[in-house]
């Protein structure tokens, strides 16, 4: 058997291209349906796990899927805005703890998540390095975001402008990194967390500048009366919030009217949850309450339907490829008739000659299956990261 395998191996090694094509075909035939299955199972698990852990999300009426993906996975496509008064509205019901979420901006591709400190307790996110954010302009980074940006406590990250051509738009804010979260294998790892008020500063709803009430600021004044002080364009606006200038930051307008993208509502029990949902059933209601688990189930239903189509397609293509591979082997046998005759003439039995040919097929099958197994193993280990990247894209 050793000699037979040796001859089979020599044949396959000599015909490298043909062997490589056959092995690749077998690998794909096996890997495509299996790998796809693993990937879908993992994505289902990932999507479901985070969705189940988020009982209720309140957001402006619109696509429940967009709202869920933005709130849970910090997708860059943000849903319709709703006013911050909705946070207070939920809080005053006493039926749930309201965690505001404002996920609109990003810092070099990492989503800036404006929220409150309750979010960290709710997601069990621990500080691995540094401390928790305390004041305006401070941020805490997820483990992957910190690694990707190469920053830690004491460093700075700058918010990215939404459009470089929009002169009246969002200006970059330099934010001080005060802490890095422990790795959690979730979308939180990729995020830059700030207080929701900091996101309003990024948006331009709040700002800080030189104190125009001081006597030495006279050169920056256009006019002053008993009620108003009007500065000229030379007034310096701060693009970084520091200990020295934090007191100068202020918001113009009513904070209750400021935007948030969603509110995570954490009810203490099912009864409170049901009552809270009942409050949002009016047809005139401008906001909606979604159960992320249901939204994701619906999405998974669609994914599974697509998967079954893809699997069916992969199986059909696989069978066609297999048939082609069999044809290649049969044609190869015809082309090798002379070689087979030679082996027989110099003493090879029918069985030993057939064993050599079969061994070649078996070696190709085994290598193909092993490679497919390897790819499936890689998919099961790194597929989740790929899915996360896909979801947070």
């Amino acid at each position: 058997m050793k000699q037979t395998l040796y001859l089979a191996w020599r044949y396959l090694a000599y015909h490298k291209v043909k062997t490589a094509i056959l092995i690749t075909s077998i690998t794909l035939i096996v890997f495509l349906p299996v790998g796809l299955r693993v990937l879908v199972d993992q994505s289902s698990q990932q999507l479901t796990a985070r969705a189940v852990a988020t009982p209720l999300v309140v957001g402006a009426k619109g696509s429940p899927l967009e709202l869920t993906l933005n709130t849970l996975y910090f997708r860059s496509d943000f849903p319709e805005m709703m006013r911050h008064e909705q946070v207070t509205r939920i809080d005053t019901t006493g039926l749930a703890l309201a965690i505001p979420m404002y996920v609109r901006f990003n810092a070099q591709g990492h989503p800036i998540v404006g929220t409150s400190l309750e979010y960290f307790d709710y997601r069990s996110l621990a500080i691995a390095e540094g401390r928790q954010m305390v004041t305006l302009g401070e941020c805490v980074l997820g483990a992957r975001a910190a690694a990707a940006l190469g920053v830690g406590p004491g460093d700075f990250v700058i918010s990215s402008p939404e459009s470089v051509f929009d002169l009246a738009g969002v200006y970059p804010l330099r934010m001080k990194v005060v802490g890095v979260l422990a790795y959690s294998d979730s979308p939180d790892d990729e995020a830059v967390f700030v207080d929701v008020k900091t996101t309003w500063v990024i948006e331009g709803l709040g700002h800080g500048h030189q104190d125009l009430t001081q006597p030495d600021a006279a050169t920056y004044l256009l006019s002053r009366d008993s009620a108003n002080v009007v500065g000229n364009p030379a007034v310096v606006q701060y693009n970084e919030i520091t200990e020295d200038n934090v007191d100068s930051f202020h918001f113009h307008g009513d904070i209750s009217q400021f935007p948030v993208t969603a509110v995570i509502a954490l009810s203490p029990d099912q009864r409170a949850s049901a009552l809270l949902q009942g409050r949002y059933q009016s047809p005139d209601e401008t906001v909606q309450v979604v159960r992320p688990a249901e939204v994701m189930d619906e999405l998974l239903g669609t994914i599974l339907t697509i998967q079954s189509f893809i699997t069916a397609g992969a199986v059909i293509v696989g069978l066609a490829t297999l048939a082609t591979a069999v044809l290649v082997f049969m044609l190869s046998l015809r082309l090798r008739r002379r070689e087979i005759e030679t082996l027989r003439k110099i003493g090879g039995s029918r069985a030993s000659v057939a064993t050599i040919m079969v061994s070649e097929i078996v070696v190709v099958l085994i290598v193909g299956v092993v490679l497919a197994g390897g790819l499936t193993f890689l998919t099961s280990h790194f597929g989740s990261a790929a899915i996360r990247v896909f979801i947070t894209m």
């Binding site: 000699q3 020599r10 000599y14 039995s349």
Partner: protein, 224 residues
């Protein structure tokens, strides 16, 4: 020794028929078989080797009635008794020169591939002047080198009977002499019987006996 009597052979229903009433080649004799193309020389060689079986008559090779053996028995007999050299060399492109020489040992469990056999294969290759090409593949060799590899492969199991089919047919004069020398030397040194099919009349004087196939009854058509 080869003993053929009342042999009759034809390919299917074709016109070609080979009849050999009697042919004897004694042990240790080096003989050449001549005849025009398509006259049945290769067929006769294949019958003696047991690669094909006659419709009638007897083929006794080394005191064994080859025609009476089963397919598997003829194969076993061929492994242990006969060395074959083909006109087209019949080397396997995907094997190195050394692996081609060792091929009978790799496909026949009856032949044990021990280190002594490998050493002998290397020594034979060196003797044939292809010792420095053992790792090359046949496609990279000249005609003469390939034929020498084929001769090494036939000789390695030390057969008592060598059957060679136009072993010098595709070679230039220099290589012709060299290959023929090697085959004749082996036959003389080992005492093996040698039957060589050739159409090269210049070489005949080097054989002890010349068999003209036209003396036998060949009827119609070409042999395959």
């Amino acid at each position: 020794m080869i003993s053929v009597s009342d042999l009759e052979f034809r390919y299917g229903e074709g016109e070609f028929r080979l009849r050999v009433p009697e042919l004897k080649v004694e042990r240790g004799v080096v003989a050449a078989c001549i005849g025009p193309s398509g006259s049945g020389k290769t067929t006769l060689l294949n019958l003696i080797a047991g690669i094909i079986v006659p419709q009638g008559g007897q083929v006794v090779t080394n005191q064994v009635d080859v025609a009476a053996l089963s397919d598997e028995q003829r194969r076993s007999f061929r492994i242990t008794n006969i060395g074959l050299v083909f006109q087209e060399f019949e080397l396997l492109d995907y094997l190195s020169v050394l692996d081609n020489i060792l091929l009978p040992y790799r496909i026949n469990p009856a032949l044990k591939l021990e280190s002594a056999v490998k050493d002998r294969a290397v020594a034979l290759a060196e003797q044939m002047g292809i010792g420095d090409k053992l790792e090359r593949h046949p496609g990279k060799l000249s005609q003469g080198e390939r034929q020498r590899v084929a001769v090494c492969r036939a000789v390695l199991p030390e057969p008592a009977l060598m059957l060679t089919d136009e072993p010098t047919g595709n070679l230039d004069p220099a290589n012709k002499g060299r290959v023929l020398d090697l085959i004749l030397d082996y036959a003389k040194q080992s005492g093996a019987t040698l039957l060589t099919v050739t159409h090269d009349h210049d070489l005949l004087e080097r054989f002890e006996r010349v068999i003209d196939i036209k003396e036998f009854g060949v009827i119609g058509g070409d042999e395959r």
